[in-house]
């Protein structure tokens, strides 16, 4: 059995997942399981080719996907109907926000099973913030306040080489749509209208939300397109803030004397939202080991396994009982802050075209990042790109969601 996963633990992904698989092997010595790590980009492309593999291409059995890809894979006919494979399979204890993303839209047939999720939050170094404000919580509740703090921090740490107020949490070291979403939501808009019939990408509020996020790079508060190894981190003292989906308990708590606190992402408008990103597993319809694949998925859903993975990947379990157990039993006080953040969770809809919309917007942000680095970014060009994107999305809606 072959499992395809994403590099969720950065450079240590292989070690982390190998250790995880050894737990499974211990219980199921008869199942020969191996794992491959692919980036999200590679997986996205593979999702469109695994249906018709060439002779050279391997056929995976279980694949990790962002939860909002489920509808697409069902539409493609790539994902196996898990309810048919095991009629007893249930989502009763699954975190509410993740449930709809497991079903084929409009049915109660499970096509992907929740694995874990993470949620965006603002982490800051208490010792750094003390130098520029007495009320970090209040100042960091709005985007305006957040930018002011960034300016003050840069002033305060101007003599520290390689210092940026904000650490870039995007793995590519670029601008990330997933980080931009809370800014857009804060402005009271979403990718699509509530009925999923139209897109809001060309609206003023959406453009402003994107601009809020881009400002971090424009104002040079956050490094982009730089050697990641060369950049300072919150741990090294060359950054003070980070908007990240990982809770970083392992990273921050491992270094004693670095007091890190966690707050909800500052709001750009009247709405406060935290981006919830779920990771699901699905069984390839072409798999020759469907029973084994199902047993792996069930193994992953067990509370103790969920808690183990949540600890090692610094994420959250996908099942309610495991979340409670994980948050409450954790010695990290900072994890409790998530009790206030979890109710703000908002996620992307489970539609055939959601992944494509994210790809379109990702490309726009990639162009913006290059333009910012080259010093030729203009708001007009961003607006034009978003207007074109809106037309493209409307066309996609007419084809796939009409």
């Amino acid at each position: 059995m072959i499992v395809w996963v994403m590099p969720d633990a950065g450079d240590k992904s292989k070690e982390t997942y190998n250790a995880f698989l050894s737990l499974f092997r211990k219980e199921n010595p008869q199942i020969n399981v191996s794992m491959r790590v692919f980036t999200r980009n590679v997986l996205w492309r593979r999702m469109f080719t695994i249906k018709n593999p060439t002779h050279e291409e391997e056929v995976p059995d279980v694949i990790q996907i962002p939860h909002y890809w489920t509808a697409l894979l069902v539409r493609e006919g790539v994902a196996e109907n898990l309810s048919q494979l095991d009629p007893g399979l249930s989502l009763t204890s699954c975190v509410k926000a993740l449930k709809n993303h497991c079903y084929k839209p409009g049915t109660k047939d499970i096509y992907s099973y929740p694995w874990w999720f993470d949620i965006s939050a603002l982490h800051y170094r208490e010792d750094h913030l003390k130098l520029v404000t007495n009320h970090p919580e209040k100042d960091l509740s709005t985007w305006e306040g957040f930018l002011k703090i960034c300016a003050a921090l840069r002033e305060r740490f101007q003599n520290v080489p390689g210092y940026y107020p904000v650490q870039n949490s995007d793995w590519r070291g670029s601008l990330s749509m997933r980080s931009a979403l809370p800014c857009v939501w804060g402005r009271g808009v979403d990718l699509l209208t509530a009925d999923f019939k139209r897109t809001s990408v060309a609206t003023k509020a959406f453009k402003e939300g994107i601009r809020d996020y881009i400002n971090l790079a424009l104002e040079n508060y956050m490094p982009i397109l730089r050697e990641r190894g060369s950049l300072g981190t919150m741990v090294s003292g060359q950054a003070s803030l980070m908007i990240s989906r990982k809770q970083g308990v392992g990273t921050f708590d491992a270094r004693r004397g670095i007091p890190v606190r966690t707050l909800p992402v500052p709001s750009t408008g009247d709405t406060r939202a935290a981006y919830l990103s779920g990771m699901n597993l699905f069984v390839n319809v072409r798999s020759q080991h469907k029973k084994e694949a199902l047993s792996f998925i069930k193994f992953c859903a067990r509370p103790e396994v969920q808690a183990y993975l949540a600890r090692t990947l610094e994420v959250f379990p996908a099942f309610e009982d495991a979340v409670e157990l994980f948050v409450l039993s954790s010695p990290s006080k900072r994890l409790r802050a998530y009790e206030n953040i979890l109710p703000l969770a908002k996620t992307l809809p489970n539609l055939t075209i959601t992944g494509t919309i994210m790809e379109i917007l990702k490309r726009i942000l990639a162009v913006c990042a290059t333009q910012i680095v080259e010093g030729r970014f203009t708001q007009a060009s961003l607006d034009r790109e978003l207007d074109l994107a809106a037309k493209e999305i409307e066309y996609l809606l007419s084809i796939y969601e009409g």
Binding site: D11, R172, G173, L225, L396
Partner: protein, 503 residues
Amino acid sequence: MFDKKSYTLYKFHKQLNQAFQNKRELLESALPVLRNLFKLDRIYFFDWQQERAILSLRMMCKKEYCMDKQEDISVIGEPAFLKQLLREGITETTDLSYPAIYVLVKWQRPSMELRGGEVRTYMQEKVGVLRLERFRKNRPFTPQEKELIQALGQEISHNLRNTEIDQAKNQRLNVSTALNDLSTVFASSLRLNDGLELILQGVQKYFRFDRVRLYLTDSYGRRVKSALCVDISGQVTHRKGDEITEQEQALVKEVFDSATTYRSTRSVIYIPLKVQRSKVGFLAFDNILSRRHIGYLDFISLQQFASQMALSIDNARLFERVQELSNYDELTRLPVRRYFNEKLSEEIYRAKRFNLTLSLMIIDIDFFKQINDNYGHQIGDWALQEVSRVIRHSLRQTDVPCRFGGDEMVIMLPSTNSEESKVIAKRLHERITAIVLPTKYTGGEEIHISISQGIATFPSDASSTEELFAQADKALYVVKQNGRGHFAVYREVADQVQGYSKE
């Protein structure tokens, strides 16, 4: 004397001297070798993205394994770094707190410059960049090591190039074979719909497109007459002209007017289907959901395939036209007797097999000879055309009309009993009686056309085709005997058929 550099290069060359399926496989083999050779803690391979001036991380190798990774580094913001890397092919990073070097991996083919015998490089292409890191023991890279790394980088670049060429060749070969197979299937069939579905599905499968669409137009290329679409799940949908959206209709002009149909950034391509001056339709291939670009080589293959497809569709259309001409009467556009008889035999068989009823109606235009004699054959033909038009528009889709000869027409009404056929006969009678001969030919007189109809039903009136015809003809005879302009069902007039003789 033993030359360590040459020996290492030879060994490296031997290790890479195998057929790799793709770039990933090659890197998975080469990077660990470099890591071990130079005792590196990590080694990365970046793709050189010329258009964005970005180094885009593709693979990382550490300890005993390689892994896909993502990271983008802009080289614009680092002019000194970039300059040195391009000039010397190697540069040390100054930003990192530990020794790390970047090595340019470029493919080049030297050419001999005749003037002065100087060798110059004409073709060169930046393939990627290697980043080698030693962060555990902070051991710097020696000049000898740097020189060797550059030489090995060169070796990798040649292997990468060869692998890419091999991969492209294999891909082309697979695609050509697939297209050839598909073309053979299509070319061997003269019926338009045969195999079209299979072929489009095949193209979608081999090229891995999200959608493949075929639009068939009229021969002037003005309107789409029908469309066939294979969607992302591989399902096929057929649409007729009236189901085609205006947006799609507008595409026709765009496709036929556009000189170029390919753009490298596109995930949609349209290929017009033309045979000499005749326009057949166009093919649309798209990856708009997956947003994968369609490669130029794929485009070229598809263009070649499209020209074969256009020819095959045109042949099939000609075949259909010939069939139509041989099956349909030119004047009335009703099927001819031979075609009708075939259909009737099929329906009689079906009716027997599934215990169904079937009615047959024979129609005669009353006093047709007088119309011809009094107003000329032109008006006679006009009357025949008008009656046929009304018949065509008054019947159900399953009914089959036919011009049986002269002014006699026959209609087969499947799954219709005598009562139901009377409804149709009444409708025809009313509509045809409403036809008035053009008054400019009748001297202003309003002359209405009338018809006589005889009906027989299978199996109640007859048990064979011949008998069915005979009984319907008898019913018609009775109508004619009783003054014409009416209809009769055989079983209702069976007792009045004395004196009938088949002419």
